[in-house]
């Protein structure tokens, strides 16, 4: 075991899969010599050569099209979109093409693509470099969408994503890249896609969340514990498909739930989670299921980012509304 940051765990997962499967190809803008702008691919070109790890010309739509074509010729592409705010340039390849290939060819072809991309906010980037656009992906049938919140999860989930035979969008939160280290096995391991993880057990309230907000929610749970509330925190890890079983089991136990997302209220995953809970467990509920989210504006200008992004205080405030309903 080694202590790793999330970015190191991601590099490690890529290394494992490049080693394990000669069909795995890593490519994108600046991923070669430079090792990626966040160094997620640091050292990989040196270790595996330019045939396996390569810089592309600067064109996100080109990167997406390349992934489709390489899949057709039997490769397992792991392209990087440098910042997920650039996804609009490659939207057709993702939502219009690779998500539909298996379906429209009646299973003749499949798209074992893993699109990696940094997303989320809180680090004062220029515009289009911070955003929570995972909702666009999650509402596109044919894709799986994964958002790890810890180094350990990131490695296991990324290996699973690469081995998955369908297209996976793997979103790495900018602020979590280097925010903390934890023990990560050096060997290969997988974490099943579509399985949530109970990051903290509790009996009074369920918080369903993902990404950076897992950590704000855990912090909120600690605050609430001081006031005598026992809070369960579910890290979705995969936001499409949702692990409904884990969510419902928890809500049936606690009778109260809130959903926390960094994305705008109109744009994220939370509404879907709330709908699933009300459809399946309404008779277990002691209170309405509330959401914590960013306001419905375009991503904040950096100067206002600190207030715009949801934080643990917002979580505590909303949690109390539900706990005291």
């Amino acid at each position: 075991m080694a202590q790793m940051t999330m970015i190191q765990a991601i590099t490690d997962a890529l290394r494992c899969e490049l080693k394990d499967d000669e069909n795995v190809l890593v490519f994108g803008e600046d991923v070669g010599v430079n090792g990626g702008v966040f160094r997620a691919t640091e050292g990989l070109q040196k270790e595996f050569g330019k045939e396996r790890v390569f810089d592309t010309p600067l064109a996100e739509s080109g990167i997406g099209g390349l992934a489709v074509g390489l899949s057709l010729t039997g490769f397992r592409p792991v392209p990087e979109i440098q910042f997920f705010g650039f996804v609009f340039e490659v939207m057709d390849s993702i939502a219009g093409q690779m998500s539909r290939t298996h379906y429209r060819t009646g299973g003749t072809y499949n798209m074992p693509v893993t699109i990696r991309s940094p997303f989320g906010g809180g680090v004062h980037t220029p515009e289009m470099h911070s955003d929570s656009l995972e909702g666009l992906m999650a509402q596109t049938p044919g894709l799986k969408v994964v958002v790890p919140s810890t180094p350990y999860d990131a490695k296991g989930l990324l290996i699973s994503a690469i081995r998955d035979n369908d297209p996976v969008v793997f979103l790495e939160h900018l602020k979590l890249y280097r925010s903390f280290r934890e023990e990560v096995p050096e060997e290969s391991y997988t974490i099943e896609l579509g399985k949530a993880d109970v990051k903290r057990e509790g009996t009074d309230l369920t918080i369903v969340t993902y990404g950076l907000m897992v950590h704000e929610s855990l912090k909120a749970a600690e605050e609430l514990e001081k006031e005598g509330y026992s809070v369960e925190v579910i890290d979705l890890r995969t936001i499409q498909p949702l692990d409904i079983e884990t969510i419902i089991a928890s809500v049936e136990k606690t009778g109260r739930a809130i959903v926390v997302q960094e994305a705008q209220k109109q744009a994220g995953i939370a509404a879907n989670v709330v709908a699933e809970i009300t459809e399946r467990a309404i008779l277990s509920l002691e209170a309405p299921v509330l959401r914590v989210a960013a306001p419905d504006t375009v991503y904040a200008f950096p100067q206002a980012e600190g207030v715009w992004l949801p934080n643990f205080k917002d979580v505590v405030e909303t949690a109390k509304k539900v706990l005291t309903f």
Binding site: N34, G35, L58, T125, P295, D296, T297, Q303, V307
Partner: protein, 368 residues
């Protein structure tokens, strides 16, 4: 006489070889192409030099302000002064500029107050509130997106019968984007008044020019769109000015758009957000380009003509420092950006109900 064998590679080489780099001043500041000398008065030549010196100082100050945490996002410009400023100098007020994020100097010269440029860097929307009569779109973050928008502005100017052009800039990397080809194709097809610049500064972040295209030049990409295409020495202010001025003349007289590749170099990192050029560039290459420096070359030319002196340069440097200080002071006075303002700015029309509700929440938070 044997029939000549058809060979498309020969055609390709013939076309590529026709793209010679247009130059007026050599690296020593000597005029090597006198018949192409642009029609600029002594005062205008001095003004062009002053702008390049000014922006070099602005770059140095911006980098140090960024390091002190007093500026936010910043993409260094040193090395590209001739490419950026001599092209803008050939424009008129009615012309539109659609810049990339490194092209802040051009829009400042086109009328965006410097203090606003600083607020753009700091991530405040006042920085993107363009004063009336300044025909500028805020710096584009998505690589190449401005190209197709420039085709749109050019078509608009054409339909309105305005004697203006739409000018846009991207880099060597940007010329790989789909939007690049769409922009030159649309403007070419409509024969709209646009000037498309590729500032080929040799690296797209870390990715060398050679990875972007196997083509000998990037200028030749314009041939496929059927538009005049120029390769110019981007370290030569006179050459850049001349080809821009000619392109503008052509455009406003119905001759359609032009694609201009300026051969240049970014001395600094891609941006101030952690890029380390030593990972992908050699000191030798840096030195090779430093020898072509646009300011050094133009200084020699002007000194030879008796139009420039050390004192004159000092004067410009002092003025730049003073104006930068004033602009920072003014930027500091801008009120802190509030979330309620972001909400209020979402639509031109009435605020939708969800935002009305959220506005009340944030106003209450902000009042505490």
């Amino acid at each position: 006489m044997g029939k000549k064998k058809f060979d498309p590679t020969v055609t390709l080489r013939e076309i590529e070889d026709k793209f010679e780099m247009f130059q007026i001043l050599n690296e020593e500041g000597e005029v090597i192409n006198p018949s192409e000398m642009p029609d600029l008065s002594d005062d205008e030549l001095v003004e062009l030099m002053s702008r390049m010196v000014y922006v070099r100082i602005l770059d140095q100050r911006s980098i140090s302000l960024n390091r002190q945490g007093r500026l936010g996002f910043y993409a260094p410009t040193a090395g590209q002064e001739a490419s950026q400023l001599a092209s803008q100098y050939a424009l008129e007020k009615e012309d539109w500029i659609l810049p990339g994020y490194r092209d802040v100097p051009q829009i400042v010269m086109h009328g965006l107050p410097l203090w606003k440029a600083f607020l753009f860097s700091r991530g405040h929307f006042i920085g993107n509130q363009i004063p009336e009569g300044v025909n500028v779109y805020p710096p584009q973050i998505i690589i190449g997106a401005q190209y197709i928008q420039a085709a749109g502005v050019a078509l608009g100017l054409q339909k309105r019968g305005t004697k203006g052009v739409a000018v846009t800039y991207t880099g060597d990397g940007g010329s790989s984007q789909g939007d690049f080809y769409e922009g030159i194709t649309f403007a070419g097809a409509a024969q709209s008044p646009a000037i498309f610049f590729i500032q080929n500064n040799q690296f797209a972040i870390s990715t060398p020019r050679s990875v972007q295209s196997v083509g000998k030049t990037l200028a030749q990409k314009g041939i496929a769109a059927g538009i005049p295409s120029v390769l110019v020495d981007g370290m030569d202010a006179l050459a850049v000015y001349k080809v821009t001025k000619d392109a503008r003349e052509r455009a406003i007289n119905g001759g359609g758009p032009t694609l201009i590749e300026t051969m240049t170099y970014r001395y600094g990192p891609h941006t101030m957000a952690g890029d380390d050029p030593t990972r992908y560039r050699t000191g030798d290459l840096d030195n090779e380009w430093a020898a072509k420096d646009p300011i050094v070359r133009f200084r020699k030319f002007l000194e030879e003509k008796g139009l420039w002196s050390k004192e004159k340069e000092e004067e410009v440097i002092e003025r730049a420092k003073e104006e930068i200080k004033e602009a920072i002071k003014k930027a500091d006075q801008a009120p802190k950006q509030k979330v309620s303002e972001l909400i209020e700015n979402m639509y031109r029309g009435e605020l939708p109900v969800n935002l009305q509700e959220q506005l009340a929440i944030y106003k209450e938070k902000e009042s505490k």
